[in-house]
């Protein structure tokens, strides 16, 4: 007897599973396989040797991490006050949209425009301009989760703290800040992971002077060095997984307050 096809809830997940297999699992496997192949498709470990023995690659990796950390810190320092103030305003929800609005424009166009402005202003392209571009691009990813978390904090906690004798600063440090940790962690994850893997922004805004990990991956593939490129991608993946793990660990300690967009 033939089994009759039934339209259950499960069926609706099939397209996505198919998509996941085609565009996530298969590419990952391909990267993994490529890492062990040389340009003539022979099995080899040379790629690893090339990558790990060259000091240039570790410098690039270090640079990327540094840029990632600085960008994340800057985004947090700029984004937190913005998110905090917006969450106190009645029209905050609409104003947050304004912060997200620049993302409607393609990031390459935005970056090229930024570059044009810097050149017009006679600003020398380098680390400073790269960091500016990074913060500019990723700030909304910090503000959004922070705003969601902070505006979700029950007002009664703030009142309870005031009632127990906390002035404005203490209320912030002892209630608002600890209660928004989950938002901070989401924001940090949302900014740090894309920044360490980004390319183009660094190339464009430093005239190719500053070379980040994302750029070198791109370069390897352009030069047909699929093996080395694959290894770099795997290293990147490892970093992403590690930072995600660390963030989750932090968040678990804040069990009770896990309430955020992501």
């Amino acid at each position: 007897m033939k089994k009759k096809f039934k339209l259950t809830k499960k069926v609706f997940s099939f397209p996505y599973i198919l998509f996941l297999i085609l565009f996530v699992i298969v590419p990952l496997v391909l990267i993994l396989v490529n890492a062990f192949l040389d340009s003539d498709k022979n099995l080899t470990l040379n790629n690893f040797k090339t990558f790990f023995s060259s000091p240039a690659s570790s410098i690039v990796l270090g640079n990327s991490l540094l840029v990632g950390v600085i960008t994340t810190v800057l985004c947090l320092v700029i984004g937190y006050p913005v998110a905090y103030i917006l969450s106190k305003m009645s029209s905050g929800k609409i104003l947050v949209l304004l912060y997200v609005l620049p993302m409607f424009i393609n990031f390459l166009i935005r970056t090229l425009a930024t570059k044009a402005i810097f050149i017009a202003l006679n600003v020398e392209l380098g680390m400073g301009t790269v960091l500016f571009g990074m913060v500019y691009n990723y700030l909304p990813f910090m503000i959004m989760p922070l705003h969601t978390t902070i505006s979700g904090i029950d007002k009664s906690y703030i009142e309870a703290a005031q009632d127990l004798g906390a002035d404005k600063v203490t209320v912030f440090l002892k209630t608002t800040l600890p209660l928004s940790v989950s938002g901070i962690l989401s924001g940090v994850t949302m900014v740090f992971i894309p920044t360490i893997s980004t390319f183009a922004i660094s190339q464009l805004l430093s005239n190719g002077k500053i070379f980040l990990f994302g750029d070198s991956i791109q370069l390897s593939f352009e030069q047909n060095l699929y093996g080395v490129g694959s290894i770099m991608s795997l290293v990147m993946l490892a970093f992403v997984l590690v930072s995600n793990f660390v963030m989750n660990k932090f968040n678990r300690n804040n069990d009770a307050v896990r309430r955020s967009l992501w």
Binding site: S156, A160, D163, L164, G165, K174, A256
Partner: protein, 535 residues
Amino acid sequence: MVQKTQNDIIIELRNVFKTYDGKHAVNNASLAIKRGEFVTLLGPSGCGKTTTLRMIAGFEMPTSGKIIFDGKDITDVPPHLRPVNTVFQKYALFPHLNVFNNIAFGLKLKVIPNGTKVNRKGETVQLFRKYTKAEITEKVNNALKMVDLEDYGHRNVSSLSGGQQQRVAIARALVNEPQVLLLDEPLGALDLKMRKDMQLELMDMHKRLGITFIYVTHDQEEALTMSDKIVVMRMGEIQQIATPEKIYDEPANAFVADFIGESTILSGVMLEDFKVEFCDTVFECVDKGFKKNEPIDVIIRPEDLKIKAANDPMSLMQATVLSSVFKGDHYQITLIANENELVAHDTENYEVGETVGVYIKPFDLHIMHKTRLINEIDTYITGENLVEICGTDFECVTDLAEGTPVKVQVDFDDVEITDDEDDGMISATVVSSIYKGSYYQAILSTDDHYNFFADTDYEWLKGDRVGIRIAPEKILISTRDENEKPVERVVVDETLTEEEEKAIELSRNIEPEKFDSEAYEQEEYAQNSDEEGDK
């Protein structure tokens, strides 16, 4: 012991108003609370009781009026400097801290005086310090012991049951040794059994600590059980301030009677002193001082209405049994007497349709002035035969010119309520609907916050949107003097003696000093050391 101030009033509200978008959430509240009293603010939701409490705590600023703490004006003092602590409705325990740290929160912030020192200029300077870790631990552990949660210090607050969270919230407030504890419907989220237990515990705590409790609730039974003094509020206005017994036995008006316990409320006429007529029968009563033939409300508690045999010489009028419901320890019997419904509690059952006699002791007839006899609005003539009522022009019969200031009167019977909001001239929300034996008296709040009283045959659901219509010939118009000021109603605190009342009245003329937080801390310290000395 704390130094006794005049009259020993710890908190006083003087003509406090709170207005949100033109609507009075709290309307001219004046209230004096004595040191050590258990005061309950009681009323239905939206009556302004929580707003009043929040103004005492400092979370809301009064639109006008003064809040006085221990003789000092604290109206503008921010909440963190006020010597009061609050137990919040949903506890508001910090989810990121464990039980111990939740309770220690206030102690860690507190600064206490630490002796004095003479500085180089020869001035004596007050030194301050924070509590040490050991002191905090001891205080928190004592607080935990007080609420029977000794081994729960390390627990996460989210792992506690509702009742336990409630205890932690109380401990967190009390550990700071406030002089006044504010409780905002603290038992609302607990089940009935738990609530009864916590009621007793709170009363016990109040007795042991001797501090002032200000308690907000909508549960009349809770209020009657726990309080020394009940403040009944409705629509932002204080209706009555009295002891629980007095509130129950001598409600100030039909609203209080209806809200506190079951009762029959009837419209009647005061014929002369000690003589009242209702249900087409003349009764003897103990009230006097009413105007001759003044329309009044009569309140009869069901347990005071005695059912007799129809031919019993004691019975004052005859009635027919409409229904009889068994309620465990009594029957609730509804009677019809001369087209008025009366409710009685009796241990005996009566047959439906049976004719019985009714007897009420003169002492058990509670006679009250009517809150309002007629709807009265100050307004202007807006055109030929047009008068403005609540923002809408109504047709009326008048020969007064446009722009004349007038007083409009509409009888309760002439306010027509329409089920569909759009059918009315103006729309309103039903605030209440009280059964008066043979009809319902509904109170309708219009969108510009005027309250219409209307007598209708139907019960209107509280909160419903309805329309109001008034026939042109039913709108009574008389000219008014624009300079005339309406008389403000003052609710007298019935728990105060005459002397105390006078003292409060006198002190109202004195501008209180501004509150000084440092001075308060010193006083508090002195109090602590005294207590230690007592042990």
